[in-house]
Symmetry: C2
Subunit: 176 residues, 2 copies
């Protein structure tokens, strides 16, 4: 049977860090640098929490470089499910689906899961930027780079540099 | 470990049949009777598909009798996840969460999953009205009565008459 791969949205497809920097600049005039965000969860910034509750934040987020090509690559080889933590921010639900439909039109509504916790979603491979999600996952773990996870250690996890590396992985050797 | 129970929303918590009858009457003046709906999926009625795409349909759906008490009962004994097919009708996502928050305030955002397909959601027990969902489920299957499933046969499935019976089940004997 085709392997099932769970792909995270924020920080893997949607560039929420860049969006945070955009919002902070527009709202306060302060230009944050990625280095200031390193090692910290995006949710540790109070202004981040405010912004994600603002209508439009998820709907207008930039797309992570090479993710359209990369997800298309995976979608032709695996059963892809987009699994996104969304119910904490209710207005994000409809925005996230509209955003996916716009940027990844080859992903169908059958392939989308919006949840609170990812612990109960079954899959063979997970691509995520959050150690809390990867740590719970039984299967091949792939960590996508984001400033908050630079120093994170997750057992039995492949750390990639981005979507180009995901496309160059030896997928025949990635086991569940 | 606490058993995990997946509870469907439409047809188990939300009375979408009554809502359909309400909408049909308001829109066409025709009063449908439950008997006319028997044995047919609600989605086989073209007007049903139109109504579920109308803003407000899910947000104002009536609550299934005894479901508040019943879900509260389960929530004190199991790890409850509300699993709802929602991504086919994008505007339903935010409406469904607001509806849950209003009528079932003891269910947290961590306990909600809005998806396209339920096949990849892990659990020990599933309460659902749709045979297509129960048939895929590995674990104890409980069918909730709705006009469309009166004659449906699902293997290894307990058919209940409603929430009162769910509360009176011998849960010690319900195995995963």
């Amino acid at each position: 049977m085709e392997k099932q791969i769970l792909v995270d949205m924020d920080g893997v497809l949607a560039d929420v860090y860049s969006q945070y920097i955009n919002y902070e600049f527009k709202n306060t005039g302060t230009l944050l640098h990625m280095e200031e965000l390193e090692g910290k969860s995006e949710f540790s910034f109070p202004s981040f929490r405010n912004y994600v509750m603002t209508p439009g934040f998820f709907r207008t987020a930039p797309v992570i470089p090479d993710s359209v090509e990369g997800l298309h690559y995976l979608n032709e080889r695996f059963r892809v499910l987009i699994v996104s933590s969304a119910t904490e921010f209710p207005q994000s639900l409809t925005e996230k689906q509209a955003w996916l439909n716009e940027h990844f039109p080859f992903i169908t509504w059958q392939q989308m899961i919006f949840c609170g916790s990812k612990e109960s979603i079954r899959g063979d491979i997970m691509i995520d930027d959050h150690p809390k999600n990867l740590n719970h996952f039984v299967g091949q773990r792939i960590m996508f780079p984001q400033p908050h996870n630079n120093a994170s250690q997750v057992e039995n996890c492949i750390r990639v540099s981005g979507w180009k590396e995901i496309m160059s992985l030896n997928w025949m050797g990635v086991h569940a």
